[in-house]
Symmetry: C2
Subunit: 327 residues, 2 copies
Amino acid sequence: MRKIKIGICGYGNIGKGVELAISQNPDMELVRIFTRRNTNDIIPVSRVPVIPYEDISRYSNAIDVMVVCGGSAKDLPEQSPFLAGHFNIVDSFDTHNKLMQHFSEIDKQALANEKVAIISTGWDPGDFSVQRVNMNSALPAGSTYTFWGPGVSQGHSDAIRQIEGVKDARQYTVPKDIALNCIRGGKTPVLTEREKYFRECYVVAEDGADQSAIENSIKTMEDYFADYDTKVFFISERDMKERHSKMPHGGFVYHIGTTGDGNKHIIEYKLQLDSNPEYTGSVMLSYARAAYRMNRNGEKGAKTVLDVSPAMRSIMTREELLKSGWI
Amino acid sequence: MRKIKIGICGYGNIGKGVELAISQNPDMELVRIFTRRNTNDIIPVSRVPVIPYEDISRYSNAIDVMVVCGGSAKDLPEQSPFLAGHFNIVDSFDTHNKLMQHFSEIDKQALANEKVAIISTGWDPGDFSVQRVNMNSALPAGSTYTFWGPGVSQGHSDAIRQIEGVKDARQYTVPKDIALNCIRGGKTPVLTEREKYFRECYVVAEDGADQSAIENSIKTMEDYFADYDTKVFFISERDMKERHSKMPHGGFVYHIGTTGDGNKHIIEYKLQLDSNPEYTGSVMLSYARAAYRMNRNGEKGAKTVLDVSPAMRSIMTREELLKSGWI
């Protein structure tokens, strides 16, 4: 069997997650990793060659799908459109209010180059997007709820690290059980962010720093913490390393719909992830398979996860799926 | 906006569920109901004309998608291939070991007639099939579990009704919490059917019937009850009517997968349905939309739910979905 040749662009947490997932997908092989860092500084687990980003377009014939693993703020708006001009790509773009712009810039490049670019893959956007749309198609008269967590929010952790006197910080977003159980019971409340989540902050302070000033700076931070029930815990550097070095995450999508004479139906989808980047990388790789197959079927242009059928993502053929017992 | 013209073939519980769902999907209209019963015996809620089944092929130009609502044992093997020769169709065929044969017979007809036929829609097969395949694509190294219930099993209820001295019966399949919680905790046990389910039987006995003989007949019935922890409750006819006339159902799909250095990820999908046929009908209708659109896009032949992208099922256009906030 000819394997699908994968490239990874960007070797951060998600890039490493994609690399680890390759070995679980026997129809794929990792060909190259691309980086803007000094290539000598990177020794990938898989030992594949590491190539400078500026040379990436030379590999357009050697790679079937480029998995673009940069950040949504700065990397992807620049890299994804450029790379869609040379490769089938998948990315995990998650800046919602810039989705249309990202989509249309990539669409132009991918159409011109006759490639498929699947954007915003991962779990949210990604799995959760698929669930929200499928739930609303199955039950058009209903209410949909998304909860993130319990899990680490990188953005909120970074925001705390900017505060004077903070050496390190980790922020967990934790859904409130009272809200989850209300919905599980079939109620459809209107919930504020404060009613949905706790924010738990674990902080390592500099020696001699004013802890109550730090706590106050966190709890009053606009856009990040001011509108939430925020708890701040000061811990040692050692505790941070030992207890908070993993990147767990997860969340819930609920849909409560009605049919006929008030019959109620509750759908729940729940993710509980030990490693956010490893799961994200693994999901991205399944969409890389879809990008490859859709392009071989003659499709081109920008796509979202909503344009991808389950069969396209599966390692099995359509006939194998019919015989699999999974239908 | 031109509405999608829907026909319903078969006016049992599922046909009625489809009819109720039409009003929640403003891009669709119900055109006709077809039945093999005496058309005078049927007064549909929606007041649409009821037409004898033998005249159905005359309506091939008037109907965009026929929703085939017969039973999997006798109706669908005959009706779905025939109807796929005249219409885009969806059905809810659920006899797993005959899936390939059903698929290929319909495929022939639908290809020859350039129609799309989406088979085995509903929730299992249907939603659960989509979940099982997506979960395995996201996490190839893992274990998948399906549980049905708590809910009424029509087949098992019918089996009890065949026993001498039984006037009426209702059987609930109930997943065992100990099994569910074991999996939710991230364990991947090998489970027998007995370890997964209780079977709860509510029975109305004929006057003077031997209840202990009935109970024994149920509990020892091969293929249905002998391999389960079965509980039998004798109740009055009135209790049967008041407490057991709804058709609730539901179930769970779990996937426990690992990535990297033993990181564990748990995915749970849960359905809790007040009315099995109404939910099934509503899901089928979303696939009817997909069948119509896929056919307009030039597709033809038999499809399963695995061949349908989320966007095809949604009432929204691709552009509306990009702007919806659901991605």
